[in-house]
């Protein structure tokens, strides 16, 4: 369990500004963390996720092969003791590529969410707190962004930036701005009316200080949950776009590209597609379980139990 602790605790303490500065705040995070661990699916998800992260980080030490070393004589070898997940059309070890692909997918998921999260949170807090014309203008633009379903906005942005891994992260990230901004705006609007915010305003606190010190920590829970679930969704979208050839480019060991490589030879070499897909599924599944667990653990209605 100590391993899980390291994986999940920073995500709670890290996003709650001021955690550790005051004893009761830390204990709130601690209690949420304890609750989190009692949810079986969430704890399992966190453990699996931690393993996946470690596997991606220590990928070079876990395999004797290189992910881009071509060995034509060893093409399409079925899974064996030597090649745990077989080899692809160039004789590259699929297991090695899946390990390195984890680096790409996890990075893409995190960075895309970070882009969407930072911009969205700032926009949403500004709109919700200052209201008026700022709010009106921001929400109009966001409504326009929301008029593009799912993957379409990302496709449009990739169209204008050109397909590459970096542009993929930007494209997917921009797609999450509107969601984050809406979430934050709603919560800030509600939090503005709380007495402690009014008190801080009456004491002459500066707007950004109030937003950062008083409002943000108190509406962090839904934000953390949303961000977690966004990482999973971003990984899926990014893999889908790469699968279409609109994201990372070969010979990158990106999971979506590997899947699309295996598509042509499904009958001959099912393993080329099966394992990268399983890796995506395992990653998104564990993140989603963690996100659902956080939703319950951070719910103020069960706090203190």
């Amino acid at each position: 369990m100590a391993a899980v602790e390291q994986g999940a605790a920073p995500s709670i303490a890290g996003v709650t500004p001021g955690a550790g500065r005051r004893v009761d705040e830390r204990s709130l995070a601690w209690m949420a963390f304890r609750r989190f661990l009692t949810i079986r699916s969430a704890a399992t998800g966190a453990a699996v996720l931690l393993l996946l992260v470690l596997a991606a980080v220590f990928a070079p030490y876990l395999t004797p092969f290189e992910y881009d070393k071509i060995a034509p004589t060893a093409a399409y070898e079925a899974p064996s003791r030597e090649h745990l997940m077989g080899t692809d059309k160039f004789g590259r070890d699929v297991f090695t590529r899946v390990l390195f692909g984890g680096r790409i997918s996890l990075t893409v998921g995190l960075i895309a969410t970070a882009i969407g999260g930072v911009v969205g949170v700032l926009l949403g807090m500004t709109a919700g707190y200052f209201g008026g014309l700022v709010d009106e203008a921001t929400m109009r633009v966001l409504d326009m962004m929301l008029a593009f379903p799912g993957i379409l906005l990302a496709m449009g942005i990739v169209a204008m930036l050109g397909p590459s891994l970096r542009n993929l992260m930007i494209a997917v990230g921009i797609g999450y701005i509107a969601g984050f901004a809406r979430l934050m705006r709603g919560n800030v609007l509600a939090a503005r009316r709380f007495d402690y915010v009014l008190a801080a305003e009456a004491l002459g606190g500066r707007s950004w200080t109030i937003l950062r010190r008083h409002i943000l920590p108190n509406i962090a829970a839904p934000l953390i949950v949303y961000a977690t679930l966004s990482v999973a969704a971003a990984i899926l979208t990014a893999a889908g776009l790469s699968f279409l050839g609109l994201g990372a480019q070969p010979p990158s060991p990106e999971w979506g590209i590997m899947l699309s490589d295996g598509r042509e030879t499904l009958n001959r070499a099912w393993w080329v597609s099966l394992f990268p897909g399983l890796a995506i599924l395992l990653t998104t599944l564990s993140i989603n379980f963690v996100g659902d667990g956080l939703r319950v653990a951070l719910d103020p209605r069960v706090r203190g139990r």
């Binding site: 379903p149 169209a159 204008m160 899947l259 009958n267």
Partner: protein, 301 residues
């Protein structure tokens, strides 16, 4: 709203730091080396021909004006009207989208209702586990695995193409599974909330049969939030169809969209993105109309 969407699509592709004309004459395979022997004069002519020398507001006005008349411009690469190319491929995509939507609604409602009526039972846990798988599963991988299992191993269904109605079955499942997960979760929470409400207790108290309570009283009200999601799903599925079409090698707008993006065929991408965005907005409008039918209170407002 639609004007805003077209402005967004337009500016997305026109406020770029890149010159479409330069891109156009670039070698589309390498994407870097401009073809040799192109003079500035030739580029200016091309620019004029494509109408790209006019000020942006003028270009936008003519784009909107033409789009309203169903003219989405000429494709840079194929020298054919974009609307004609869209019309050619759309029927396939719409058929797939509707089939996928049908799958999500049927599967999602079934799971959601079963789970919502028996909270914390094994069927509830199983449904919600399936739903979490649904949101986590890459649709293209699911599609490939379905092909492997049912077409290549069991030879029960055709793997690719659009020849028979059976050929639509696997793509529909691959496309609709994700949406069914979302609908199932929502239906469950909606049913849970409504089964605890007072009018359900009243209906039961006056001796109405349980099946009638569920079907007539609970379901109708539980459906209201679900309808919203179904409306949103239509647009998402339509853009998601691009991936499913690739997996099953089906004709459809994927051919236009992906090729348009890779070949920097801006009018094509513009037309495609605008078209789906408009469909998305329209399906939301239809959802609003459905509200009035499901919830009579809205009519009075």
């Amino acid at each position: 709203m639609l004007l805003g969407v077209s402005l967004a699509v337009f500016s997305m592709l026109h406020l770029l730091p890149v010159d479409p004309v330069e891109m156009l004459i670039m070698d589309s395979t390498t994407g870097t080396a401009p073809t040799s022997g192109v003079t500035d004069e030739m580029m200016d002519n091309l620019r004029r021909e494509l109408g790209l020398d006019r000020p942006l507001p003028v270009q936008f006005a003519s784009f909107v004006g033409n789009a309203l008349r169903g003219d989405l411009g000429m494709s840079f690469r194929n020298n054919r009207p974009v609307s004609e190319m869209l019309a050619e491929q759309l029927p396939y995509t719409i058929r797939l989208t509707l089939a996928g939507l049908g799958t999500s609604v049927v599967l999602g409602l079934t799971l959601g209702i079963l789970a919502g009526l028996r909270p914390n039972s094994w069927i509830d846990s199983a449904s919600m586990l399936l739903a979490t798988f649904g949101v986590s599963m890459p649709s293209f991988w699911l599609g490939l695995m379905l092909i492997y299992l049912f077409a290549l191993r069991l030879q029960a269904l055709p793997a690719l193409g659009v020849g028979s109605p059976q050929a639509l079955l696997m793509p529909a499942i691959a496309l609709g599974f994700h949406g069914s997960a979302i609908i199932a979760r929502l239906t469950r929470s909606s049913i849970l909330e409504i089964m605890g409400s007072e009018y359900i207790t009243t209906a039961r108290a006056k001796g109405v049969a349980e099946s009638f309570v569920v079907l007539r009283h609970a379901l109708r009200n539980a459906l209201i939030p679900v309808v919203t999601v179904v409306g949103l799903e239509f647009g998402s599925l339509m853009s998601g169809a691009v991936i499913t079409e690739t997996v099953f090698a089906r004709p459809g707008i994927r051919r236009l969209a992906v090729r348009g993006i890779l070949e920097k065929d801006f009018p094509l991408v513009q037309g495609f993105v605008l078209f789906i965005a408009v469909i998305y907005v329209l399906s939301n409008l239809i959802v609003d109309l459905c509200y009035a039918w499901l919830d009579p209170r809205i009519r009075f407002e």
